[in-house]
């Protein structure tokens, strides 16, 4: 059953390359069937595209809206939201 689920999160980690969270996020997002998007203010990025994510320019502390549309939307949101909120270990 297709669902559309949205959640607003505060970014705990910088979405950057050396720090790897962007790559991890994309790799995880690509594992879900659902369409995944991440929005900051009025810009929306495709969660499965690393370039899209990087150009969103989301920084630590920013509020972003994560959206998933598809059969596994709930699982996707739960997993990806916690990745975004995670602080550097």
């Amino acid at each position: 059953m297709e669902q559309e689920i949205e959640r607003t999160v505060i970014l705990g980690n910088k979405v950057g390359l050396h720090a790897r969270p962007a790559a991890i996020f994309v790799q995880q997002a690509q594992g879900f069937e659902s369409q995944i998007t991440l929005s900051k203010n009025d810009k929306t990025a495709n969660g499965k595209s690393i370039l899209s994510l990087l150009t969103l320019g989301a920084e630590q502390g920013d509020q972003v809206t994560l959206k998933a549309i598809g059969a596994d939307a709930q699982a996707a949101i739960d997993k990806l939201a916690s990745l975004l909120e995670a602080e550097p270990g």
Binding site: A22, N46, A81, G89
Partner: protein, 571 residues
């Protein structure tokens, strides 16, 4: 005689002297052509992308082997660029809608993304535009059939370039590079990171001045001050060479003394071991003079992957560390993960308070299969070595009993599979929770040793999140509350003839060392690079003095008073 000096950003410390090797690579551009067979063009692009991916993967493996996983990670991101669905869709659409050549379509799309990245206000992300361009150029070269210029580097030289992409910097044979100097870049550029990993000087951000650095010119590069001296006279050159030799000598001396055991002034030997997170660091630990491993973190095996590592994979990694350390003791901590760490296959529900949630031993006991696999792998790998196990975040005796049952079960399984495993193994727990410290006198009867994790102990005792800038200063391990708990733990252990190690940052803090020594700590476990320094500090105290310092420190009221006192008592 004044020597021309130019200045840039000090990106990696050290001094080098030698001839310049100017490295310039022309940027490849593509011209727009009309193509009739659009499908062929798309297939051609896809083939080029596959080749680019293969090249980058080779670079990734090479860098991982030569430098390390962190530096190699940038190439993994490059591979992700090549898989990016938005980028690919844009290029395919351009080829199809405009009937143009793949090279042109690719150039347009990647240029757009570079520009978008550069326009970002975050400096770090904007610098990633250089990564995008590196990947874009690689694919363009393949599409246009242009080879990268072969490096004509014959003798060791100072590499000078306007810009060096990660691929380019990595391509130079390490033995031939004395230093890196670039016109662009910052203290965090890839060149800086690479140079630091190689232990050579680097200067970035030289700007237009870089034009004064001509091929073959003799220079001195001082990566500590960010200066390049052009064609220094013999006297200056000698002076710099002497400085360079002196720096190397100081480092060598420290390392040599580091190989000696640390004895206090009144002749007591204190065991200094290392905190490591992987096999490469085991080698570094020995070079720095560690007498063993006081903490082998195993999270690296479990994080950032699709599924838990299997038994054989783990055995290989543990054996690698144990073999490097030979007969020296190696304490391995079983996986210490919580909901805040990326291990999606563990399928843990999100928690409001991951630090107070299911983590450490709680998680291990909740995932018995994964726990059993790790235990079996450890028991197998430990044969013929001095392996000790320790368990994180233990609060109570039931947990220790559950651990013992798990160990028995793991051994029994191995016995039925007719595999050899080590039966004699010391079992200890991390003391990170106040509850464990307060119950140490009872818990000690169930284990062979304690290892105090002061980072978390301070955090939990003072209720201050060390990742929260507003309260991080409150989580001070030198607070008397924490010191009292440390004393309690050591006294309880010694009353039962058992030993105590400490693997938190406190063990490497020169201020704290006499206190810990005076309280009777048996083992200091620190990051490899700190081993020489900690040994030196220990050598400057006698047990008698250390006991007095500890006694006075523990009579104080708060962290500030303790620090002030310790600063005055410092040698």
């Amino acid at each position: 005689m004044t020597i021309t000096t130019i200045r840039g950003i000090a990106a990696s410390p050290g001094i080098a002297a030698g001839p310049i090797f100017r490295y310039e690579v022309g940027k490849v551009t593509a011209e727009r052509h009309h193509v009739a067979d659009v499908q062929h063009e798309i297939a051609y692009l896809d083939a080029a992308l596959q080749q680019a991916k293969a090249e980058i993967h080779t670079l990734f493996l090479q860098t991982q082997k030569d430098i390390g996983s962190n530096e190699a990670a940038v190439f993994e991101a490059h591979e992700l660029f090549l898989d990016d669905p938005e980028l690919l869709q844009q290029v395919h659409t351009t080829i199809q809608m405009q009937s143009v050549n793949a090279a042109y379509a690719w150039q347009q799309a990647t240029a757009q993304y570079s520009a978008q990245l550069r326009a970002l206000s975050d400096e770090y992300l904007a610098a990633r535009a250089a990564d995008m361009e590196d990947v874009a150029q690689r694919v363009l070269r393949i599409l246009q059939g242009i080879d990268t210029p072969i490096s004509k580097l014959v003798e060791p030289a100072v590499i000078v370039a306007t810009e060096l992409t990660p691929s380019e910097a990595t391509h130079f044979p390490k033995e031939k590079v004395l230093a890196f100097c670039t016109a662009t870049g910052s203290a965090t550029s890839h060149v800086a990171i690479l140079a630091k990993a190689l232990g050579i000087p680097a200067i970035t951000g030289l700007g237009n001045e870089v034009h004064q650095l001509r091929n073959g010119m003799q220079v001195v590069v001082d990566g500590t001050t960010g200066e390049v001296l052009l064609e220094p006279d013999a006297q200056t050159l000698t002076a710099y060479q002497q400085r360079s030799e002196m720096l190397m000598q100081i480092q060598q001396d420290a390392l040599q003394l580091a190989q000696e055991p640390a004895m206090t002034r009144d002749g007591m030997h204190v065991r200094i071991v290392a905190n490591i997170a992987g096999p490469e660091q085991a080698v570094e630990a020995l070079t720095c003079g560690a007498e063993g491993v006081g903490l082998l973190r195993t999270e690296f095996l479990f994080l950032e992957r699709e599924a838990a590592p299997d038994e054989d994979e783990q055995v290989a990694v543990y054996r690698s560390v144990l073999e490097t350390m030979e007969a020296r003791p190696v304490v391995v901590r079983t996986f210490d993960i919580g909901g805040d760490k990326p291990a999606p296959y563990l399928d843990m529900p999100a928690e409001m308070n991951p630090f107070l949630g299911v983590r450490g031993i709680r998680l291990a006991l909740a995932k018995p299969d994964i726990f059993q696999t790790q235990l079996r792998a450890l028991l197998r790998a430990g044969v013929g070595h001095t392996l000790k196990l320790m368990f994180p975040m233990v609060a109570s005796s039931e947990e220790i009993r559950a651990i013992r049952e798990h160990l028995q079960q793991a051994a029994a399984t191995l016995a039925t599979r007719d595999l050899s495993y080590t039966e004699q193994i010391e079992v200890g727990i991390m003391i990170e929770l106040p509850a464990a410290a307060l119950m140490a006198d009872m818990l000690v009867e169930l284990v062979d040793f304690f290892s105090i994790g002061t980072n978390d102990l301070a955090q939990y005792t003072l209720a201050a999140d060390r990742t929260n800038p507003a309260v991080v200063e409150l989580a001070d391990a030198l607070h008397p509350a924490v010191l009292r708990l440390i004393r309690m733990v050591i006294e309880a252990a010694h009353a039962h003839g058992k030993w105590v190690g400490l693997c938190g940052e406190l063990a490497g803090d020169p201020l704290a060392i006499p206190v810990l020594l005076g309280l009777g700590l048996d083992e200091f476990s620190i990051t490899p690079r700190s081993v020489p320094l900690v040994k030196q500090v220990l050598r400057s105290y006698s047990m008698h003095d250390a006991r007095e310092i500890a006694r006075q420190a523990l009579a104080l009221e708060n962290a500030d008073e303790v620090r002030t006192y310790l600063l005055s008592a410092k040698r």
